[in-house]
């Protein structure tokens, strides 16, 4: 069978002075109808550039330096813009990463889909409208009339993604390019969208080029897998073969870094260092947090798991007092944290530090890493003269070289910045670390390293960690106990192995079922138990 999309020796040059000469180098791939080809790689591996090249929509500074792309019989490389425009959205369609950003906020859903027909066909208006409706129906959207007349902001992220897919499918494209189509979605929504894409594949009409960094998703959806590293394809093959017997060391490293769904044995209870009771936060009439009780014990980790909007980030902000609760109490080390004011509050803040989600936003771009950490050490009570030495110690502790001291955040990768954020928090010598989705912005290899670093620091320093995440695998990998949040409430709370293997609440069960890429054994047997970490130093 001839492939519908054929890429031969494709090379895309980067502007001079970048960290490598080519964004994509000598890539050859074939995609057939009725097939999902997953391109997997870390951020910066060139997988998004590859998809942009196929769409003929490379960012301005990049150009194809060699090779060719064929769509059926049509040679796409070197085609003039006007001809490419007739192909884009018509024979090749894109499913975007951020569906809400990809839709026009000032146009109703129905109009946006009709516009695709307007551009690429000469169908009459009523026919266009009827087709748009059919497409929405095929996307299993509820209440079609209401959705069709809605503006994007009136719909959920998952609904918007279905609409973006409907627009992509409007002209029955030969090739669908999905660039991280579920990364911005919650786990349960992701599971539904993946199911929809599998259905599309089953029609045998389209070839799907699926770009992702998530091996869970790959396991669920791929027919074939291509692994990219630094612009090159290092391994390509049937999904079952690549997952079971990866040939290339990089593929093996990536697969090994995916946390398995397993909980580790719970460490014995110690004294509580952080207790919150009846914590409530309302924004006007909206209740973001509704009577949350948690208790965090010395040297242990409590994971707070929930989807976006569940209130888990609000909880973190209240615990470090970036925001003030509407009601409830917070005790840190036996003292009422909420009663603290002014300079007393500034002093007591050092006991409870936060590591943020976005490593790019959490560091002041105008200050050097060393300055940031040394200042934190000074605030943590170390004399100014010794702060630099302490900062250098901490850089070494989080695995950064000493010359990192004089560099600004822009000179570091996401994982390195997260390490600087951890060093900054540790410089205050806190008893408690609040990690708000601290690894979700990182690549899987880096994610594993940062989780390992946190566990290691915890074992050495006896810090208590409150780990906020949307990902049950990550929670299982790090937590002693798990609390599941939904709509501002904790619906279930308990030891990690129990929550993962025998979830009691419906919502927890739905979350566990929605974890992408569970192997057959994981589904059948539930999570395995890892040996406990060594006991804490007293």
């Amino acid at each position: 069978m001839t492939p519908i999309l054929s890429i031969r020796n494709l090379t895309v040059a980067l502007p001079k002075g970048g960290d490598r000469a080519f964004a994509v180098e000598d890539v050859s791939l074939d995609l057939h109808r009725g097939e999902i080809l997953c391109v997997v790689g870390a951020s910066g591996s060139g997988k998004s550039i590859l998809s942009a090249a196929v769409m003929g929509a490379l960012p301005g500074r990049l150009a194809i330096a060699g090779g060719e792309i064929r769509l059926g019989e049509t040679l796409l490389t070197g085609l003039p813009d006007a001809a490419l425009r007739r192909i884009r959205g018509n024979r090749i369609a894109m499913i975007p990463q951020e569906p809400i950003a990809a839709l026009n906020p000032a146009m109703t859903v129905s109009r946006q889909i009709e516009e695709v027909f307007e551009l690429h066909s000469d169908l009459a208006r009523p026919v266009r409208r009827a087709r748009a409706r059919d497409l929405l129906e095929a996307m299993h959207l509820p209440d079609i009339d209401r959705v069709a007349a809605s503006y994007p902001h009136q719909l959920s992220g998952g609904q918007c993604q279905r609409i973006a897919i409907a627009m992509g499918l409007a002209m029955h494209p030969d090739v669908l390019i999905a660039d991280e189509p579920t990364t911005a979605l919650d786990a349960t929504t992701q599971a539904q969208i993946l199911k929809l894409i599998r259905e599309l594949k089953a029609t045998g009409e389209h070839g799907v080029l699926f770009i992702t960094h998530d091996f869970g998703v790959v396991r669920d959806i791929a027919d074939r897998i291509a692994v990219m590293e630094a612009g090159r394809i290092v391994e390509v093959g049937e999904a079952a073969r690549v997952l079971a017997a990866p040939q290339h060391p990089y593929t093996r490293a990536l697969l090994a870094a995916v946390p398995r769904l397993e909980a580790r044995a719970v460490r014995p209870a110690a004294e509580a260092v952080l207790t919150a009771k009846g914590l409530t936060k309302s924004y006007g009439a909206k209740l973001a947090l509704d009577g949350v009780d948690i208790s965090l014990e010395r040297g242990t980790t409590l994971a707070i798991v929930g989807e976006s909007g569940s209130g888990k980030s609000t909880l973190a902000r209240l615990l470090v007092r970036i925001a003030e609760p509407t009601g409830g109490s917070i005790d840190v080390g036996g003292a009422n944290f909420l009663a603290s004011r002014g300079s007393a509050l500034r002093r007591s803040r050092r006991q409870i530090q936060m590591i943020f989600q976005d490593p790019f936003g959490a560091l002041n771009p105008r200050r050097t890493a060393g300055d940031i950490i040394a200042r934190a050490a000074t605030l943590g009570g170390i004399h100014r003269a010794e702060a630099k030495a302490r900062a250098l110690e901490l850089l070494a502790l989080v695995g950064l070289p000493a010359d990192a001291y004089d560099r600004r955040p822009a000179a570091f990768s996401g994982g390195q910045r997260q390490r600087i954020g951890i060093a900054r928090a540790l410089a205050m010598a806190p008893q408690i670390l609040i990690c708000d989705e601290s690894v979700s912005a990182l690549d899987v290899l880096v994610q594993a390293q940062v989780l390992e670093l946190l566990a290691d620091l915890q074992a050495r320093l006896g810090i208590a960690i409150l780990f906020i995440t949307h990902d049950l695998r990550t929670a299982g990998a790090i937590a002693d106990r798990i609390a599941v949040m939904q709509h501002g409430r904790i619906v279930e709370q308990g030891d990690a192995p129990a929550i993962l293997s025998t979830p009691a609440h419906d919502y927890t069960r739905a979350l566990v079922a929605a974890i992408p890429g569970l192997s057959a054994t994981e589904r059948a047997l539930g999570p395995s138990i890892r040996p406990a970490l060594p006991p804490l130093p007293r």
């Binding site: 902000r317 470090v320 007092r321 970036i322 509050l345 500034r346 002093r347 803040r349 050092r350 409870i352 530090q353 936060m354 943020f356 989600q357 976005d358 936003g361 959490a362 560091l363 002041n364 771009p365 105008r366 200050r367 200042r375 934190a376 605030l379 954020g421 900054r424 205050m428």
Partner: protein
């Protein structure tokens, strides 16, 4: 980093005017207040740009006139920035009642047509160097405040500010060390544009007879003096107009260049 040509040209022109202003006593061929033969046309070796109605050398008056325009607009803009940045950072970071109060005052001032505002201030206080600075500062500070406040609100929402708060940083350090340096590139652009506006305003005040008391050399005042005879003797108004335009244009070029360099 490559320097945008706009920046280079702008800096060159402004530097030239600065040198002219500083070394006015050395380079001016004549005393700007002494009368020679009136209404000489440009071209003569002794009076290359001609003389005015009272026989004063136009070149020398332009050279001396660079001083008040440059130093008054610089002083007014700097003071406006000190007030606007201080109030804007505090209002944008703290929000609440403080912000509401500052914003209300700024909006009331900005709701007057600017020229009317300057007229009111000058008429109330009388024309003098100091009062020109006060008037221009009064008009600029609220605009600076609004820009700084908007930037501060944006930056205050970033995680590194939250991190500074959880570390117990005092407010003044958050304002001056965490927020201000990140606002600086945008403010540098606005500063240059505003310096140009101030130069125009000072020229306009001079033109309206509200600038410096005569017979001090003043570009705006020179245009007013020559206005009645402008058709017969265009050199009376053309040269001071070119002087003002070149300075304002150069400042705009610097602003554009800075903006380009940032991207």
């Amino acid at each position: 980093m490559k320097r945008p040509p706009a920046l280079v040209i702008g800096v060159a022109i402004v530097a030239l005017w600065l040198l002219v202003a500083v070394f006015a006593p050395v380079i001016a061929p004549h005393d700007p207040l002494v009368s020679f033969k009136p209404l000489l046309r440009p071209g003569a070796a002794a009076f290359p740009l001609g003389t005015d109605l009272l026989g004063r050398d136009i070149l020398s008056r332009l050279i001396w006139g660079a001083r008040p325009v440059i130093f008054l607009s610089l002083a007014a803009t700097l003071i406006a920035y000190i007030i606007g940045v201080g109030a804007g950072l505090l209002a944008g970071y703290r929000r609440g009642v403080l912000d509401a109060g500052f914003s209300f005052i700024a909006n009331v001032i900005l709701s007057f047509p600017v020229l009317v505002l300057y007229l009111v201030v000058i008429v109330a206080l009388g024309p003098s160097y100091l009062n020109v600075v006060i008037a221009v500062t009064f008009g600029s500070a609220p605009a600076v405040f609004r820009i700084v406040r908007a930037i501060a609100i944006d930056i205050a929402g970033r995680d590194y500010i939250a991190a500074a708060v959880t570390q117990g940083e005092p407010t003044w350090r958050i304002l001056l060390i965490e927020i201000l340096p990140n606002a600086a590139p945008a403010l540098a652009v606005d500063f240059c544009l505003r310096l140009g506006y101030s130069a125009i305003i000072i020229g306009s005040l001079g033109f309206l007879g509200l600038g410096l008391p005569p017979p001090a050399p003043d570009w705006g005042g020179m245009v007013t003096d020559g206005r009645a005879l402008a058709f017969a003797f265009p050199h009376l108004v053309i040269f001071p107009c070119i002087a003002i335009s070149s300075l304002v244009l150069a400042l705009s070029l610097i602003a554009d260049g800075l903006r380009e360099a940032r991207q």
